[in-house]
């Protein structure tokens, strides 16, 4: 396997007694889009800042194309950084902002002009080149920041929650734009976000951070469908976690006994052993509702509807099963799921994902 573009090797970082990043290793391949996803304070931004050179690791090393870089000052790292609040230079025009990294590299004036023009075309801001950042909208400023971080063709592009300040619609558009740029220019991108939907949309791989370490790393599909830990299951998307004990295992699945004595059948038992405590994760959209007395016998839980909220494209139903609350997403046209109704919730064994407790 080729040398990874960027490698974090047992990197740790402490601020005083607080350890923010703990003995973390991560390889990012050339042309890969990796999201660092996690709640605030989980160490993802600190890791990015160490890659950029704004923070020094207290332990471990960072390599770029096999060359150790953690002792280099930021201005010698060849990393394009896109900051949360854009960090555009307010006293310079859009064109001057984009030309800045080229000027710093002593590139000739005519070449700068051409590259700035191409960068502006790339983010569709050619008409704005002589404006000051303050005269642009948030989305336009973000695109300038992006053009500025890309124009000098850095080895890696580091983005620190770059879309956090934009409204939802613009954010979704920018996600697709950045993804398209990544594909077209074959950029290596490290993208910090706390928005799991954003990470799912954009990434080749997602690294889920928790308490200074990587809880799980994998493709969006892996992370969403096969969370390895409870933290990942709860952080990525919405899920229902049901606690139980494995009572039997077979070729196609396992039987899990719940606290109330009922049994659920789950598929893909894998390495489960009889007697182990597990959590069963069932996504809200995988649960279907039926009136009492109908529906299949497997994995059917009789419950009562606590609340039912119309959400536009779906109906969000809250169920109460012996003090355990289920969240179900169901067809918005179903009028019969009103609060107080007695129903049966059921889900296929294939839709149950088992996590070791």
């Amino acid at each position: 396997m080729a040398t990874p573009r960027i490698r974090f090797e047992r990197v740790s970082k402490s601020f005083g007694t607080l350890q923010v990043v703990k003995d973390l290793s991560l390889d990012i391949e050339r042309g890969e889009f990796v999201s660092l996803l996690g709640p605030s304070g989980s160490g993802k931004t600190t890791l990015l800042m160490m890659a950029a050179g704004f923070e020094n690791p207290t332990g471990g090393s960072i390599f770029l194309d096999g060359r150790r870089i953690d002792h280099l000052p930021p201005y010698r790292r060849e990393m394009g950084v896109v900051f949360q609040n854009y960090a555009l230079f307010p006293h310079m025009s859009v064109a001057d902002n984009i030309a800045f990294p080229l000027k710093m590299r002593g590139i000739g004036r005519s070449e700068i002009e051409g590259r700035v023009k191409r960068a502006l075309d790339m983010v569709q801001l050619s008409a704005m080149s002589s404006r000051k950042p303050a005269q642009l909208s948030g989305g336009q400023q973000q695109r300038v920041a992006l053009a500025r971080a890309l124009v000098f063709e850095p080895a890696v592009v580091l983005m620190d929650e770059p879309l956090g300040a934009l409204d939802k619609q613009l954010r979704e558009q920018m996600q697709l734009d950045i993804r398209a740029l990544h594909k077209r220019l074959e950029l290596t991108v490290v993208f910090v976000t706390h928005d799991q939907a954003e990470a799912l949309t954009m990434s080749d791989r997602i690294a889920v951070f928790n308490h200074g370490n990587i809880e799980q790393i994998g493709s969006p599909r892996d992370i969403y469908d096969r969370p390895q830990t409870r933290v990942v299951a709860e952080f990525i998307g919405e899920t229902n976690l049901i606690e139980g004990t494995v009572t039997a295992t077979g070729k196609t699945g396992a039987s899990v006994e719940l606290a109330d004595g009922r049994h659920l059948i789950v598929s893909g038992s894998g390495s489960l052993s009889v007697g182990s405590r597990v959590h069963i994760s069932v996504r809200p959209e995988r649960i279907s509702l039926a009136a009492r007395g109908t529906g299949s016998a497997t994995n059917a839980l009789p419950t009562k509807i606590l609340d039912s909220v119309y959400q536009g494209d779906h109906l969000r139903v809250q169920l109460d099963h012996d003090a355990f609350r289920f969240i179900v997403r169901t067809d918005r046209r179903s009028a019969e799921w009103a609060a107080g109704a007695d129903v049966v919730a059921h889900f296929a064994p294939d839709d149950c994902w088992v996590i070791a407790a």
Binding site: A52, G53, F54, P73, P74, Y75, R77, E78, M79, G80, V81, F83, Q84, N85, A87, F89, P90, H91, F100, P101, M104, R105, R148, A149, F152, L158
Partner: protein, 389 residues
């Protein structure tokens, strides 16, 4: 109706300030201006002459009415002090008036009948003496303003430079501006890094650094200057420290010279440079310098191209504050400086309290004010240009 009531309310709110400014600022300013240009001595004490001379063409023989009027006026002045002021005023315009007037007054008081003045003294036939009276009858004059910048009228009325050695106002004004400029540069050189240090620190360190700047503002200017007086002495703290290091065998002359004045003024005015720069610095987004570094700018270039241009507004307003305050400094040069370091304020103080020449004090004040306004105008033009560019 409600809009009208609202505007009445607004007016009522600004009324106290307007009155305050009017009574304690605008009116005194106008009074000073009036003092600087008023010249009422002759017109008040020689009212008949003033009336009679107004129709005279300034070249012909002095008319009989003028002579009669002057004699009447001289007879009716019974206050010797007033007569003395008139003589002094006329003599300063036309030398020879002192003896002429003494002779004339003696002659006039002796006779009952109005006299032909030409018979008393032949100089009264010379129109230039009458011209001097005619000039002096205007209640306003530019003599003080001209004298404030070492200019005067010659006998023909043209504006010429005063003979060398008669007045040093130009030199003192130049010295004032030079000292103010040097102090401004010095406060900037010290204040900019210091303000950057405050902006970069946080928590109790920032508080401590800020208090260190603000503390001098809480003590009286006189106390701070007196402290420098002690520190800068030949056997003061600074000299004894430098000599104990063996750097110098003789004490550095720091007191009663320009160096001491500039050191003390720089210290006293430092807060006015540090605070505006600091307030601009903390408003600069913190991630601009990291951004510049990530884009390949070394610290020096990032400072010159990003931080410095963004701080310029603070430096400009700090510089303006320091420069203007330094122009009017009086106590510090008076206590720390030697005779060659006195600034324009001490000259104003001399005229105002030393020689009771309110006209000259006012005129110098006006010149200083005008120069300051010009500087402020230039600053305003430059700052709007930078902000708009």
């Amino acid at each position: 109706m409600s809009a009208f009531r609202q505007s009445i309310g607004t007016f009522a709110l600004v009324l106290p300030l307007t009155l305050f400014l009017g009574v304690f600022f605008i009116w005194p300013l106008l009074t000073v201006l009036e003092q600087a240009v008023s010249d009422p001595v002759v017109s008040q004490n020689l009212p008949r002459t003033t009336a009679a001379i107004s129709t005279w063409n300034r070249n012909s023989e002095p008319s009989d009415e003028m002579q009669i009027a002057l004699v009447e006026d001289l007879k009716s002045i019974d206050d010797d002090q007033n007569l003395g002021e008139v003589v002094r005023r006329l003599n300063s315009a036309q030398p020879g008036f002192r003896t002429l007037m003494r002779k004339t007054v003696a002659a006039v008081e002796g006779s009952a009948e109005p006299t032909k003045l030409g018979e008393v003294d032949s100089r009264w036939n010379d129109p230039s003496f009458w011209r001097a009276i005619a000039e002096a009858t205007y209640p306003y004059t530019d003599r003080n303003l001209l004298a404030a910048v070492d200019l005067q009228h010659d006998a023909s009325g043209a504006i010429v430079a005063m003979p060398a050695g008669e007045s040093a106002n130009q030199a003192i004004l130049l010295r004032t501006f030079t000292v103010a400029a040097v102090v401004t540069v010095a406060t900037c050189l010290i204040g900019l890094p210091y303000a950057m240090l405050i902006a970069a620190s946080s928590g109790w360190r920032r508080q401590l650094l800020l208090v260190a700047v603000l503390l001098p503002l809480w003590t009286s200017l006189l106390v701070r200057t007196a402290a420098w007086y002690i520190l800068l002495q030949d056997k003061g703290l600074i000299n004894s420290f430098l000599m104990s290091l063996g750097l110098f065998s003789d004490p550095l002359p720091l007191l009663f010279n320009r160096t001491g004045v500039i050191i003390a003024m720089t210290h006293v005015l430092l807060p006015f440079m540090v605070l505006p720069i600091y307030s601009v610095l903390i408003a600069i987004p913190r991630n601009l310098m990291p951004a510049a570094a990530s884009l390949g700018a070394r610290p020096i270039r990032a400072f010159l191209q990003i931080l410095l241009p963004l701080t310029l507004r603070g430096i400009a307003s700090g510089g303006l504050l320091v420069f203007m305050a330094a122009l009017g400094y009086y106590i510090t040069p008076a206590l720390i400086g030697g005779p060659k370091d006195q600034m324009i304020s001490s000259v104003i103080a001399f005229y105002a309290t030393g020689s009771a020449n309110w006209g000259m004090a006012g005129a110098l004040g006006i010149v200083l004010l005008a120069a300051t306004i010009v500087f402020y105008g230039v600053y305003g033009r430059l700052s709007t240009k930078t902000a708009g560019a």
